[in-house]
């Protein structure tokens, strides 16, 4: 096992100071970083253990926004009645991660900072236009999650910065939001494809707002603006599958890798978008009653 200097801050000020050490990295749940360090795939001069920083572990309704501390675990998100009401797609996504052992340790901040194209909480955050609050000794800034994700494992995080919290606005009116993932082995599979869809219906029952995010089909999890455009204003009916098929061909070009082929991913993406849309529409109709 590699060597590193170990730091365990308690306050956010101490955390900022520890992270100003050149090359320092956060150790949050450790579900990603510990196995990778053990395999020698990754080395750091300094690890900053956040297990003592209680102030970054919360789920809060701040009126116009829901704010999630970056150290919130997947299990805490999955068990939150507040999130179940405001973003059921995020609850389903958090529930789908790994097994219980992984969910009890893995954090939302770690899932985001990892920037895996297959990360499961990201689609459910992207459809709510989530924003990140980044902090460092220098100060703080807000950045939309979509702009933060630059490529596989690459983000806009600067040296010394960390993700403090994630926030998004609740949807209002007749809305619904759903998450669906396809993996090879249920329980702990990395997604072959995943999607989150949020929809709002107007009083004529037409789609007045739609947001679709897809994972595992591009270098980052992406918002599918072309598919969204194609569906906006339409009546949510089974025939929409054709529109989804057409727009999907234009929108995505997945790759073939050890987990799946491009062809399968393309087909899977269309099918899960359709299913997630159906589920979101059902919720929206329920709310509209």
């Amino acid at each position: 096992m590699q060597e590193f200097n170990y730091h365990r801050p308690i306050t956010i000020t101490e955390l900022k100071e520890c992270l100003s050490i050149p090359g320092a990295r956060i150790l949050a749940g450790g579900t990603d970083i510990v196995p990778r360090m053990r395999q020698g795939k990754f080395s750091v001069p300094a690890l900053v253990d956040t297990s003592g920083v209680k102030a970054m572990r919360f789920i809060e309704d701040q009126g116009s926004e829901i704010v999630l501390g970056a150290l919130t675990t997947h299990q805490e998100a999955a068990d939150s009645p507040l999130l179940q009401n405001i973003n059921p797609a995020l609850v389903t996504a958090a529930e789908s991660i790994g097994c219980q052992q992984t969910r009890c340790r893995g954090t939302l901040g770690g899932n985001i900072a990892n920037a895996s194209p297959a990360a499961d909480t990201l689609p459910a955050l992207l459809i709510f236009d989530a924003t990140l609050l980044l902090q460092s000794l220098e100060g703080e800034r807000r950045i939309p999650l979509e702009e933060f994700l630059l490529g596989p494992g690459q983000t806009d995080l600067l040296e010394g910065e960390f993700i403090h919290s994630i926030s998004f606005k609740p949807m209002i009116g007749s809305w619904g939001a759903a998450f669906i993932k396809i993996g090879k082995r249920s329980g702990m599979a990395i997604s072959v494809a995943n999607t989150a869809v949020a929809v709002e219906l107007n009083d004529k029952g037409k789609i007045s707002d739609i947001r679709i995010a897809l994972g595992s089909v591009a270098p980052t999890v992406i918002r599918c603006r072309k598919i969204e455009q194609a569906l906006l204003g339409k009546e949510p009916e089974p025939a929409l599958m054709k529109e989804i098929h057409k727009a999907c061909q234009e929108e995505i070009s997945p790759i073939t890798d050890i987990r799946s082929s491009a062809e399968y991913r393309n087909h899977a993406a269309e099918v899960i978008i359709h299913r997630a849309l159906e589920s979101a529409v059902e919720q929206a109709k329920e709310r509209g009653r």
Binding site: Y6, V34, S51, C99, Q100
Partner: protein
């Protein structure tokens, strides 16, 4: 690399260990504290659950936790499940139902099952399968574990 001293509650007892920070909870349990119930069956990838311990009421893989991360926590290992010289009802029911074969996965599976029953005293078969999905077993085919958990849920054998 400097050593660190970490204090936590281990099986109900105040415990303090001094270790290099690049060792996992699993390493320290097995090598320093002589508690070999938690095992490594996947090379520390977080895939098998043989290293499961209970941390603050939740099942966690001890192979993915650096020792510094357990400061101030409560850890229960399989060695701490016995009470007053009596095996825990899950330990008895696992034996009774034939859910222990080679035994490599057993400590982890029993600890996960304990957290499951603590939160949900009467789980369905589906909930048990979901709950135990992080504990791989190459011997029992899982059905016997489900039987064992139902047996324990009904009050176990004699308590």
């Amino acid at each position: 690399m400097k050593t660190i001293t970490v204090s936590f509650l281990l099986n109900g007892k105040k415990t303090s260990v001094t270790s290099l920070p690049n060792r996992t909870l699993l390493d320290v349990l097995r090598e320093d504290l002589g508690l070999t119930g938690a095992k490594d069956a996947c090379g520390g990838e977080g895939e098998c659950g043989a290293c499961t311990v209970i941390m603050n009421g939740n099942p966690v893989n001890s192979c993915m936790i650096f020792i510094g991360q357990i400061e101030g926590t409560q850890i229960t290992t399989i060695e701490g499940l016995m009470e007053k010289g009596e095996f825990h009802r899950l330990q008895k029911s696992f034996v009774e139902a034939g859910a222990v074969q080679c035994g490599f996965c057993t400590p982890g599976a029993i600890l996960t099952a304990k957290t499951l029953l603590d939160n949900n005293p009467h789980p369905t078969d589906h909930e048990i399968r979901e709950g135990l999905s992080g504990n791989l077993c190459r011997c029992t085919g899982y059905n016997k574990m489900i039987d064992a958990i139902h047996l324990a849920e009904q009050g176990g054998l004699d308590d």
